[in-house]
């Protein structure tokens, strides 16, 4: 069958740089999947993305769908013909809907009876009649956070749409997309090539854009050009460019025709902390900083979008923007260092953390106590932890952090060192914000860990105590991130901490502060500690579930495995982790599936039986050898397993209990649990209860899928 290339280009006003790649990928996938879904064979799908266009070039798309075999079931024969054998209305209607008459239908015998059937061949549709719908659906499904309207139209898209190129081979697929007539005319660069640019065929698209349009359409190509160009210009300026992938992506999404050029700033600004310079150049201005042997140079590389007739103007303009920003920063740095951080502690009381949880000063007081207590338990110096917690939020009151909020913690470290605070304190001030995002580093120091955990636990517990827990996508205090951070620190740094105990300790302090804020007010009293602790525990466990299901534990975890361990509500996430790992190992054993089934069966039997009789099974009530075998085996293995469990050797303990497989299987094969004699029956239930309890020490195996 003959094939043609497909090209669709949506020409827009400037698209959001941070979502351009995601939009482009989704558009290409949407078109590719759309073709596949209607059985249009095709070759490679090539996405193009620039600030002013999203395009997809698909190679070798079939011109025609294959013919389709159709098989439709109609009414049962019993209802299709009346007593005289004449077709009923149901039969006639079915035949008509299939485009045939009743004699044209077949009869097929099925388990439920005999039915009328239509079988036929539906000729495939021409691709050109399907393409518009495929593109439309791909556009409708794009992950656009907020769609907008423009002018007086009803179309909604990321940004206003100006043209649509829609070519199937050399032929324009006619139609309207986002209220724009499709055609074969694109536009080049907004300033270098504003005139309409005709595209003769999909294969010539990228070349035409580049040669006549001053547009490098392919994202990866443009990104590579920028990387090389920026490096070249940085080398001319005497250094290496600091090339963050994130900034490269963003800059690539901001230009169609990248022209890198170097700018300079006054060397005196190099006295500023490196992070301040990088934040100014990279985050605020999208410039690439330049460094030599690990030290920044007074230079940067900007990537402009034009081949300027007078590049000095572009360079000079960009330098003009940097100068006031850096002089602001230098001014802040000087002013801030005139007052030690410690002098700012009282001012924390003037900043509200949360109306009922009090000020940042109140929070600082709580975190100091929690952090010093925790530090003492994990081998850190309690006094240093207390000091670090006391100063941790003070940089929020400095001018620099007011201007560069992203430097919170970092500036605290610089200022603490300037104030001659101990190195551990300075490091912990910076580290207590870690981890800031998924995959971010954890605090490297013990004091940093203690303050970070204490700060996050105080926030989570406090927000739950005032009933502001996150709902849906609303999480203004970042509790999800905080909870995940705490879990990562506990598990990955092996800090064996009872979460409920620590939450209770946090809550005791919070409760006192809430009571003070609420005094004389009309707020209902805060809930009891037990209620808060248990809801925070449950919340944190749900984050833990996500942590494992997303593979962060380093081994495969299913939600059933997680639930099996959660059934015991382990207090310490480190203990939770050990149990889950043991369970994962256990499931690799031959005996696992059978024992999981047995646990499930026992759980069902016990549930049906209602209340389990007290006590252990008694030997004199055993009637069957298999009961005695199982009981004896349980006695010997149970003791060993319990010893291992007590030492948290869960893997070994479960391996021990795996020895129960055979006696359990044989018990179920040969023994009828529900004996007529009530005493015997109760005794058997007790025995099964003991088997189940043995496993329950680690996890509830009945929650796992057993043998089919």
């Amino acid at each position: 069958m003959s094939r043609r290339d497909l090209l669709v280009e949506i020409g827009t006003e400037e698209l959001p740089p941070l979502s351009l790649l995601e939009l482009s990928t989704a558009f290409a996938e949407g078109v590719g999947n759309g073709l596949t879904a209607v059985q249009l064979k095709h070759g490679r799908v090539l996405p193009y993305a620039t600030p002013r266009r999203l395009a997809v070039h698909v190679k070798g798309v079939s011109e025609q769908q294959p013919d389709q075999e159709i098989s439709r079931r109609g009414p049962p024969v019993s209802a299709a013909f009346d007593a005289n054998g004449a077709p009923t209305r149901a039969a006639l209607a079915f035949a008509e809907s299939c485009g045939t008459d009743v004699p044209g239908l077949k009869r097929v015998q099925e388990p439920k009876g005999e039915f009328l059937f239509f079988t036929g061949r539906k000729p495939g549709t021409a691709a050109r009649d399907l393409l518009l719908g495929i593109v439309q659906r791909a556009l409708d499904a794009l992950p656009i956070a907020r769609r907008m309207r423009w002018g007086d139209g009803d179309a909604e898209f990321v940004r206003p749409v100006h043209w649509v190129v829609f070519l199937f081979g050399n032929e324009v697929i006619p139609g309207r997309i986002l209220e724009v007539e499709t055609g074969n005319v694109t536009r080049g660069h907004r300033f270098h090539a504003p005139k309409p640019l005709r595209i003769s065929s999909p294969g010539s698209y990228a070349g035409a854009l580049q040669k006549r349009g001053y547009v490098v359409g392919d994202f990866a190509t443009r990104r590579q050009m920028i990387r090389e160009g920026v490096q070249r210009v940085a080398a001319e300026a005497g250094g290496d460019a600091l090339l963050s992938d994130k900034l490269l992506d963003e800059v690539t999404a901001l230009v169609e025709w990248p022209v890198p050029l170097a700018g300079h700033f006054e060397p005196r600004f190099l006295e500023l902390p490196r992070e301040v310079l990088v934040a100014t150049l990279q985050d605020h201005q999208r410039y690439f900083p330049v460094e030599s042997q690990g030290r920044l140079l007074p230079a940067f590389v900007a990537v402009s979008n034009i081949e300027s007739r007078d590049p000095a103007q572009v360079r000079g303009g960009n330098e003009r923007v940097v100068r006031p920003r850096l002089s602001d920063a230098a001014f802040f740095f000087d002013v801030d260092r005139k007052r030690p951080l410690a002098e700012r502690v009282p001012e924390l009381s003037r900043v509200t953390f949360q109306a009922r949880l009090g000020s940042l000063g109140d929070k600082t007081g709580r975190v100091r106590e929690l952090a010093s207590e925790l530090a003492g338990r994990i081998g850190g110096d309690a006094a240093l932890a207390s000091r670090a917690a006391e100063l941790a939020k003070c940089d929020l009151l400095t001018a620099m952090v007011g201007e560069f909020p992203e430097l919170q913690g970092t500036m605290g470290r610089y200022y603490a060192l300037h104030d001659r605070e101990p190195d551990e304190v300075a490091a912990a001030i910076a580290e207590h914000y870690l981890p800031r995002f998924a995959g971010d580093a954890l605090p490297a120091t013990t004091i940093g860990l203690a303050v970070s955990i204490a700060d996050k636990i105080d926030t989570i517990t406090g927000i739950f105590a005032v009933d502001q827990k996150p709902s849906g996508t609303k999480d203004p205090f970042g509790l999800r991130r905080a909870a995940l951070g705490v879990l990562r620190m506990l598990i990955e740094r092996k800090i064996d901490l009872s979460l409920p105990d620590f939450l209770k300790a946090a809550h005791d302090r919070i409760r006192a502060d809430i009571a003070r804020s609420d005094a004389g007010g009309s707020n209902k009293p805060p809930p009891e500690a037990t209620a808060v602790v248990s809801s925070v525990y449950d919340y944190v466990m749900e984050r833990l579930r996500a942590y494992y299901l997303e593979g962060n534990g380093g081994f495969t975890v299913t939600t059933e495995m997680f639930d099996a361990v959660l059934a015991n509500k382990p207090a310490s996430p480190v203990d939770f982790d050990a149990r889950l790992r043991a369970l994962s190992e256990f499931l690799k054993l031959d005996a696992a599936a059978s024992l999981a089934s047995a646990n499930k069966r026992i759980a069902n039997i016990l549930k049906k039986a209602g209340t389990l009789p007290e006590g252990r099974a008694q030997a004199e009530l055993f009637k069957h050898d298999r009961e005695r075998d199982l009981s004896a085996r349980l006695d010997s293995l149970g003791v060993e397993a319990n010893r291992q469990f007590a030492g948290r050797e869960y893997t070994e303990g479960l391996r021990t209990l795996a020895g129960l497989r055979e006696p359990v299987d044989r018990f179920f094969d040969e023994v009828m649990v529900m004996d007529e004699d009530a005493a015997v029956r109760a005794n058997r239930l007790r025995l099964l209860g003991s088997v189940r309890n043995a496993f329950l020490e680690v996890a509830d195996l009945s929650r796992l899928p057993g043998q089919a």
Partner: protein, 311 residues
């Protein structure tokens, strides 16, 4: 199409205003004067906020003095002011070539886009107090933000249909760039037969004194009463079906709130409540204004026949 030659750059601050007024007047905009009440931005002018509501057509351009009490620096910072000027353009419905019109306005200021690197960088706008939001860009001129560009999607909680395109030039920034000066106060305001007058001559004392008022002197207790009084008056005026006077009470409440903010008299959590109170008023006014225009039969909804305009 004849090739557009960039004009020569306006030499003075007032020439810059004249050039923009001339340009947008030639494109058919109503040239309005500033609204005579304190406000935080040109968006608060009835010529933008209220005109963005409803089906009627509208296009206007005007200078609006903008008051941002917290941005005051006692006249000591070369880049920040508590009182500065915006040049605002609104066109409704936003025409398809609105970005080209904007770029042409830069050409009219002598800024050739083949010399200067002009970029549209995503920057979405939201005004919590006005219950308004839109999508658009900040416009970069060689890396410097000179303009905010927004397609209004909602105003006063009402969907904008049709959509208003809003262009907001930062006049001081543009003037500093065009004149090549490093401080706002060094901008030449005018240079004629009666001598040269600088921006600092006109406004420096005002910055110093108003900063002191905003940060140190403004009477918090009185401002709190004023805020309540504006809120009360707004409700009464709405009951009397007078959306335009009611809107002026919103402006009063909003500016009073900004002053209280500068005095740090409002805690972070209270802040949200005050913003919500202003937004509630703004929404009620928006609805009343819509109803009042509807009662008039939306007189400007019909497409006006375009007079011939020199391009």
């Amino acid at each position: 199409m004849p090739k557009k030659q960039p004009a020569t750059a306006p030499r003075t601050f007032q020439d810059l205003v004249f050039a923009l007024q001339r340009y947008w007047s030639d494109r058919g905009c109503v040239i309005l004067q500033p609204y005579d009440m304190p406000m935080g931005a040109g968006t608060f002018h009835t010529g933008t906020f209220l005109r963005a509501i409803g089906p009627e057509r509208w296009s206007a351009a005007y200078v609006q003095p903008s008051r941002r009490p917290t941005d005051g620096r006692y006249g000591e910072n070369p880049f920040r002011l508590q009182h500065y000027y915006q040049f605002q353009v609104v066109i409704k419905p936003s025409p398809p070539d609105i970005l080209d019109l904007y770029v042409d306005s830069l050409r009219a200021l002598g800024l050739d886009p083949l010399v200067h690197d002009i970029r549209f960088v995503e920057d979405n706008w939201e005004s919590p107090t006005l219950g308004a939001w839109g999508l658009g860009w900040e416009v970069w001129l060689n890396g410097m933000e000179i303009t905010q560009f927004t397609y209004f999607q909602q105003a006063g909680g009402l969907e904008c249909r049709p959509v208003t395109g809003e262009i907001t030039y930062g006049l001081e920034r543009l003037a500093m760039y065009l004149q090549g000066v490093e401080s706002i106060y060094d901008i030449v305001w005018t240079d004629g037969p009666l001598g040269r007058v600088m921006y600092g001559d006109v406004f420096h004392q005002n910055e110093a004194e108003q900063s002191k008022y905003n940060f140190e002197m403004a009477d918090v207790a009185w401002l709190l009463q004023q805020f309540d009084a504006h809120e009360r008056a707004c409700r009464q005026l709405l009951e009397a079906n007078l959306p335009l006077p009611a809107y002026e009470q919103v402006l009063g409440a909003s500016h009073t709130f900004n002053l209280l903010d500068a005095r740090r008299a409002i805690s972070v959590t209270e802040r949200q409540r005050y913003i919500l109170r202003v937004r509630t008023l703004a929404r009620a006014v928006a609805e009343a204004y819509y109803a009042s225009r509807e009662a008039l039969g939306f007189p400007m909804a019909e497409s006006q026949p375009a007079a011939s305009v020199p391009a």
